[in-house]
Amino acid sequence: MQRILMGVFRIMPLLFGLGFLAPLLTQIIARAGWTPPAGLSPLILGLAVGGAWGGFATLRGRWL
């Protein structure tokens, strides 16, 4: 159990990127009425940015 929890917390930045930042960005884009480039939908852009940022934070240990 402890090992599972530690594993979850280790990848929490990635989960946070996908679970929170992605829908947050999607909803900000929608509320601002902005159209993402290259025909991307707001959700795909949100997932790409949130996932990449969360992945970076998981690997590097920092968000910035």
Partner: protein, 297 residues
């Protein structure tokens, strides 16, 4: 609550034993009774924060108005729990001990800080204030205000120091109570993230961000600045009369949440927050005789 008014001249010639006797007699005049103000503060403040959810999600309260209310509410959430951590509301075995524990558990829900984690690590902070390895709050100390904000940001990164210090402190304590607190901390954190994710994916990401996530970060910064950094700055010295200072802030007593007088709390943790200013002024000549840093207050 009152204590005999003293002058520095009256205290100047006293030896160590006489000083400690005098200090204790002053402190005792400010202890005892239930701090109903803090109890009311805890319950009302928690109710205010919880009410922001239905009010905002139903469209009664605009999000731009909920955001500052949430930030202030979460910033105010810690101190009632702090009173409970020191069992100021009621001690174990007292008739109202349940109320003490209720305040402790409920008031920091929005801060996502479990009561037992806060209590156990805070006792260690008191025992080892400013110790580079044993004070769990040492990571909030910095060279100055700008450095504090830089460190505060760094501490919140996934590899940051603050959460790690609390975990290490509980591990070092190693008691069944500390081990239980670590499990509760994991449950709190998982629950917090699960709620944020559920809200976000059900179309309420902005509400989750502006009622909880961002206000919690802003409030934590404010709390750490005034409750940890400012009263212990420069955090170089240890010892009963050296590890905490008084300070004068342009924001005054209320906006610094009474922390200008935090030195009194470290000397006598069972004096309720709202009585620390009066206790300070009564004890000031003793503190001067002890050579405390009173920061011009």
């Amino acid at each position: 609550m009152s204590a005999p008014a003293l002058t520095e001249a009256q205290v100047a010639g006293l030896d160590d034993r006489a000083l400690i006797r005098l200090e204790k007699s002053i402190a005792e005049a400010f202890m005892g009774g239930v701090p109903w103000g803090s109890v009311t503060w805890a319950l009302v403040n928690t109710a205010v924060w919880l009410s922001l959810w239905p009010l905002t999600l139903s469209g009664v309260l605009p999000l731009w108005a909920a955001f500052p209310i949430a930030t202030v509410s979460i910033a105010l959430s810690y101190l009632p729990s702090h009173e409970a951590q020191h069992r100021i509301i009621a001690r174990a075995g007292d008739r109202l001990f349940w109320l003490n524990e209720l305040v402790g558990h409920v008031s920091t829900l929005s801060l996502v800080l479990p009561y037992d984690v806060a209590r156990l690590t805070h006792y260690e902070h008191h025992k080892h204030a400013n110790h580079p390895d044993l004070d769990p709050d040492i990571s909030t100390h910095a060279a100055g205000t700008l450095d504090f904000f830089r460190r505060s940001l760094a501490n919140r990164q996934p590899s940051g120091e603050s959460d790690k210090a609390y975990g290490e402190t509980l591990q070092r304590l190693g008691t069944p109570e500390a081990q239980r607190a670590m499990i509760v901390a994991a449950v709190y954190r998982l629950t917090y993230f699960s709620i944020l994710f559920a809200l976000a994916w059900s179309g309420h990401a902005l509400e989750a961000a502006l009622i909880w996530w961002l206000p919690r970060h802003l409030a934590a910064t404010y709390i750490q600045y005034y409750l940890s950094f400012a009263p212990h700055h420069p955090a170089k010295l240890q010892g009963r009369y050296r590890d905490t200072r008084a300070f004068r802030s342009p924001l005054g007593n209320i906006l610094t949440m009474g922390m200008q007088f935090h030195i009194i709390h470290h000397l006598y943790p069972r004096i309720p927050l709202m009585r620390t200013p009066a206790a300070y002024w009564a004890m000031r000549p003793v503190l001067t005789a002890r050579g405390c840093d009173l920061g011009g207050l």
